[in-house]
């Protein structure tokens, strides 16, 4: 289950930095795991609070969903495509006078961590996609490691959706555990 938080840019200033939120995320997940074990029920990970900041509110980025692989078996690669419901999802909203050209860049992890353990993750040329809010099925794939630039015309929409998948490569002797890391997207209006 993924809980959708309110738009990131609406959050008050002074929120916890990303590493602190990741630690809080792990603590919450550990508590949920204990509850799940007692009830005999497997609970999917829920999302955590997003982070966002805008320049005079002319461009805003909101996180709509996390990238959640769920259970992964050691030795078996696990892939999530952008069209998968488990993919991460962001919304980029542009305000002000069109036309707009916005450049999207991403900070991607090379591995997820669980204490001292590392779990490799990689992204390929079609691991990300974007579409306008009013035509979410007309997606354009892009390489999240290279980013992309989206141009919205005079009368077009001012909001785009961005999806991010990825591929996990757990080794045959991968230690079991709860692995996590952050992806950060930056939108710059040109």
């Amino acid at each position: 289950m993924t809980l959708r938080p309110p738009p990131s840019s609406d959050r008050p200033a002074g929120r916890a930095p990303a590493p602190a939120r990741l630690a809080a995320h792990r603590a919450r997940r550990a508590r949920r795991a204990l509850v799940g074990a007692a009830a005999g029920t497997l609970l999917a990970a829920t999302s955590v609070a997003g982070q966002g900041q805008g320049n005079a509110q002319r461009v805003a980025v909101s996180r709509l969903a996390d990238l959640t692989f769920g259970l992964v078996v050691g030795g078996i690669p696990a892939s999530i495509r952008p069209e998968d419901p488990a993919a991460a999802q962001f919304e980029v909203t542009l305000r002000g006078q069109p036309p707009h050209a916005v450049t999207l860049t991403l900070m991607l992890p090379r591995e997820l961590t669980s204490g001292a353990d590392r779990l490799p993750i990689h992204f390929d040329a079609t691991s990300a996609a974007w579409a306008t809010r009013d035509a979410p099925d007309a997606r354009t794939a892009f390489d999240p490691a290279r980013g992309t630039t989206v141009t919205l015309d005079q009368r077009g929409p001012k909001s785009i959706l961005v999806w991010i998948g990825g591929v996990l490569e757990p080794g045959p002797t991968q230690p079991s555990g709860d692995y996590a890391e952050l992806i950060t997207i930056t939108a710059v209006e040109n």
């Binding site: 840019s9 990303a18 939120r21 997940r29 005999g40 029920t41 497997l42 990970a45 999302s47 997003g50 982070q51 966002g52 900041q53 805008g54 320049n55 005079a56 461009v59 805003a60 980025v61 969903a65 996390d66 990238l67 959640t68 692989f69 769920g70 259970l71 992964v72 078996v73 050691g74 030795g75 078996i76 696990a78 892939s79 998968d84 962001f90 980029v92 006078q97 997820l112 779990l119 993750i121 991010i164 990825g166 757990p170 045959p172 002797t173 991968q174 079991s176 555990g177 709860d178 692995y179 996590a180 952050l182 992806i183 950060t184 997207i185 930056t186 939108a187 710059v188 209006e189 040109n190």
Partner: protein
Amino acid sequence: MRSPLFLAATLALGTLAGGRPLHAQASANASTTVSADVVTGLTILKVADVEFGVVPAGSGPNVLLATDAGAGRFSLLGQPGRQVTVTIAAPAALMSGASSIAYAGAASVNENADDPAAATPVPVGPSFTMRLRDPSPGQNRRLGHLYLHGAVTVAPTAPPGVYTGTVTVTAEQ
């Protein structure tokens, strides 16, 4: 006093500035969490309990199929290609205090996909073997699927109540 020409030039400049405001580059960012729970060895997950629902006294057998919504579900996770030995231990009766109703357990497995309609019957009680298949794309987190179902028979004299029992699934590789 400004000349008419000067005023016209001033208005024109104002219109240009208003038509496309000059501004600094704007940016924003947000973060998302990537997460995964890695399991090793052989793991059995209970996905759903067996639920017969309301059954009337004096009825039976009330049959629950693998494809019914009330069927129980387990998932087996482990190294693909491994053969595992599975044992299902089910009670002969469901209990409500000192009262009981007869339960005839049944089970089926699907080694290839989470699809009870294509599952193969397996015994309840004696051990059987199944192989964990290589997962297809999008199904890399569930390698074997087991469905529990069966039938309950309720005597006419059975008192109303909630009757329960425990089914235990064990697997070894």
